[in-house]
Subunit: 202 residues, 2 copies
């Protein structure tokens, strides 16, 4: 089973690394980090470099593609990335995204209609693609699976592990990752906090 994860400049690292860490532990998984050109990309903070091992032009068909979010504007406008998405989507088992990665899928035109998950900050942009914001952690729209912002990629990663294997294997992978979250403070979502948070999101 081959999973291709797109890496691009100014992406958010955890969007890709969360599901990578889950999916890479499936027994038969091969993960390929793909991008416009082979070599290093720098994430949105500028503090981290990730390696693109394969050009999107050089990879064959695969079972899953995964689009991380971040500052996805350049990726949305990139014709080679768009061609890769359209080509792969024809034969994937699941076409997936985390955070604003769903906007890259939408811009490529592979989501005909319905709801998608994304970062809450993208709620007002999504209708421009003729789609609606689900507000859900994980949204299934046919074989397109979209997750909410950043950390939601871990939940989606384990969801995919269960869909591709079985619940026990997904739980074993969750146990290996000790995914028994204990956030150190309550989750808070209000206008004041969104204003602070949005300045930190590209």
């Amino acid at each position: 089973m081959e999973i291709q994860i797109l890496l691009y400049d100014r992406m958010t690292a955890l969007d890709a690394i969360g599901p990578y860490e889950c999916l890479s532990r499936l027994d038969d998984a091969i993960i390929k980090m793909v991008g416009s050109t082979k070599g290093e990309i720098r994430t949105d903070t500028g503090f981290l470099g990730l390696t693109v091992d394969h050009s999107v032009n050089d990879v064959g068909p695969c079972d899953i593609i995964l689009l991380p979010g971040g500052d996805s504007r350049a990726a949305m406008a990139d014709e080679e990335i768009k061609s890769w998405i359209i080509r792969q989507h024809e034969t994937t088992r699941f076409t997936t995204s985390v955070c604003t990665g769903s906007l890259i899928l939408a811009a490529a035109g592979v989501i005909p209609n319905g709801k998608i998950a994304s970062h809450w900050g993208a709620e007002k942009i999504i209708p421009k693609f003729g789609l609606s914001y689900s507000g859900e952690r994980i949204t299934q729209n046919g074989k397109i699976i979209t997750a909410a912002g950043v950390s939601a990629g871990i939940d989606m990663g384990l969801w995919l592990c269960e869909a591709l294997s079985d619940r026990e294997m997904a739980q074993a992978i969750g146990l290996g990752l000790e995914y028994n979250p204990q956030p150190p403070h309550p989750y808070r979502d209000d206008d004041k906090l969104r204003e602070i948070a949005i300045k930190k999101v590209t």
Copy 2:
């Protein structure tokens, strides 16, 4: 505020990327990815390359060091890494680890006694260092903060954000990351599942 995160061959990516994603959103944070030599390291799965931007020999003092886990045996035996830990720990505000990264701290001798958190798979190794396994998500032992396995680094990252700033800022960062976990299945921890999981952990 400068945070130095160690990257090394065969580390587990999420151990570092979870807290990186939290801490990098603090207003005044500078994060440096450090390692034995500058350039690419490959993570434990072989599927991902991360960039070491600074040699541990070339960096000045900093506020926080963070040690990720994974196959940490080579890092535990590396004299340059050990010197970096000992040198930095003299003046850090927090000396931190995720997963078996706590074994690297223990091997460097900076934890004189008491409890540390780690991956559950390391429970029997920890007493060899004269320390005990806490079994907690996050354990504070003086200024040494250790987290449980892999995904626990996100909880620790937000804990550190609160300690370094305040609860509202940490909650804003959590909101930006949409860290409101909704695991797709119940967390399960028993002998059968540990046997499956341990084969996937290096």
